[in-house]
């Protein structure tokens, strides 16, 4: 069904057209004057200047793996992020933690954990789906590389970005 849009009834002054042009030009001239006097600065000089201090709290940058306070890689290779990832950027090869390891109770860990940052769309579904709070979107946004292989973040790289996350995931505690 077609929607009829009512045409606005313009006043004489609006129909003259020139007053609007002139008032717009006045704003432009005001900014020009401020620029000349050094009162405003519009352009951020990236990459000499960085966004980092301006990023909002909820900013979604590169996904990364975190360790807990005891140094354990929180990820247990449940592969839910691999499943949920819309562009299928995540690839996990699970492994079994040997019985002699101090984290043997967890049984399972990611042997390999690759995120293809060419594919990643920074949607944050991996962080949302993670039952172990092991993957977080950090504030790294300048992901660059010379080759496609450079753009794949492996487990070491992901842990390096992620660092240590403090917080309560007590379920793998020996006493639990």
């Amino acid at each position: 069904m077609a929607i009829t849009v009512a045409r606005p009834n313009l006043t004489f002054r609006e129909r003259l057209y020139l007053p609007a042009i002139l008032s717009g030009l006045a704003i432009t001239m005001k900014h020009f004057k401020n620029m000349l006097l050094g009162r405003t600065k519009v352009t951020m000089q990236y990459p000499e200047e960085k966004w980092d201090s301006h990023l909002p709290e909820h900013y979604r940058g590169a996904p990364a793996l975190v360790r807990d306070e005891t140094g354990r890689v929180r990820c247990v290779a449940c592969q839910l992020c691999e499943f949920i990832c819309p562009p299928r950027a995540i690839k996990i090869v699970p492994g079994e933690i040997p019985a002699a390891d101090r984290f043997a109770k967890v049984e399972k860990f990611p042997n390999e954990f690759d995120i293809d940052m060419i594919r990643c769309i920074y949607c944050g579904l991996c962080e949302e789906v993670c039952p172990e709070q092991a993957i977080y979107l950090r504030k790294d946004y300048a992901i660059t590389g010379f080759t496609r292989a450079d753009m794949v973040h492996n487990k070491e790289k992901l842990l390096e970005i992620g660092g240590v996350m403090h917080g309560v995931v007590l379920k793998w505690n020996e006493k639990k």
Binding site: A77, F83, E107
Partner: protein, 551 residues
Amino acid sequence: MGDQVLAPPQLLNVQINGVWHQFPKGTRVIEACEQAGSYVPRYCYHKKLSSPGNCRMCLIEMGMPKMGPDRKPEVGADGMPLINWMPRPQISCAQDVSEGMGVRTDSPLAQECRKGVMEFLLINHPLDCPICDQAGECRLQEFSVEYGNAASRFLENKVKKPKNIELGPRVTLDDERCILCSRCIRFCQEVAHDDVLGFVDRGSHSVLTAHPGKRLENNYSLNTVDICPVGALTSSDFRFQMRVWFLKETKSFCTSCATGCNTIIGTREDVIYRQTPRENDAVNSSWMCDYGRLNFGYLQSDTRLLQPEILAGDKLIPAEWNVAITHAVAQLKHFSAWEIAIIASGRMTNEELWLTSQLAKILGVDLIDIVPRTGPGDDILLSADRNPNTNGARLLGVTSVPGAKLREIKDDVVGGRVKALIALGENPIEIGLTVEQLKALPAFVVMNILSNDATEAATALLPSFGFAEKRGSMINGKGRLQRLNRAVRGPGQARDDWEILRDLIQAYSGRNGIYSIEDVFRQMSEAVPALAGLSLSKIGDLGVQVMESAK
């Protein structure tokens, strides 16, 4: 004897959720409800095992016909019998239907009971789902979505039990996850006849364990993993390999012996991760043996043949397919019919065996046989005949008595009468020939999937597909025609066996109108009376009986 008459099976009227249905006498209430479209959740009940009724998940509301003072059922205003509902719930798994019975599966009482049972089962259950292989096909997960609470009311400490125990060479046990349904115990008693499992200790400290000094190591142990409704028993082979929701499931059957147990092959991105049995009461019930189940690793072996090769000078060099086929045929054309022998395989599909017999006919070869392969069988499923398609080879005329001509083939190769040998899926060293004798052959055409000493001696090497990589049909030991479906793509340059055989035939006799495996089956069904009127699609998922059962 002939004039004895049995009464027809009795049908009983049962009201399920307000609707009257008829079921044969002896139907369990839980099965009747399922047939009527109301699935009753259950953990311990398995239709192929006895019913102990110990999980209490299948509680329903049940009633019996209301009897008047004259012991006649009272009839309501709608002309149907009235039902006296019992005040307390009943388990539906250990009860057969009876005349005039009433069942409510979704009444407030039944719902409330399931919620209560779920809460008790989850009290000591660990939060292992992220590392549990059962996640995704776990009954406890499924029913806790339907009947569980979002949060636990249990504030006390959970009971600690043994975790990650090797219950046997192929089964890993996690006692914390066990809900004590006893399916595995009953399976070992009733099906595998190896009564090694049991519960010890009492109350919430009850654990599943193997008899002291014994292990769960019978050849059917992995079926306990399939029937375990939770993640207590997991397969050590499949452990942590892949989450089940990634697996593509292809219906197929096991080719490790003549039984041909129906299977589901779980694959992801052309890698086979597991095989599980598929129910077929005419073949394998719901089970399969561990030997067959785990016998797929060779398809992913490093020794797979990936490239057709031909002998040039004194070594094998890679070749294009058409070059390799032409080379093989050009070699064979040098010899008369009586100088050629064919060793076919009982592991080939009917289509391949048919084309092999056609090739033999064109070549005029009389020396053709399959290699019999036997091993110890048992009374459960494993057959002593380890070739999956011996019956197919018999039916299609490749052999009459498997292995009868092998002696002659061997002697003629050694004696120099046979100058060209075609080995299809078999290693001639296994029939007693040596590498030197094979190397001395002027023409030795090999079609196989794995490299071995014999493939090194080939003059033309044609890499082919394994059972999970191709389509085709086989006839099991009891004469049932079953269908293989393709689960993964073949590796490298390897090709489907029937295509290789067709190309060999066409290199001799020109185009023969065979473009697909359906064409092969059609040609075969027109020539073989037992297969008349069938096609690959008509075989269906459960197979068709085409030969008289041998025993």
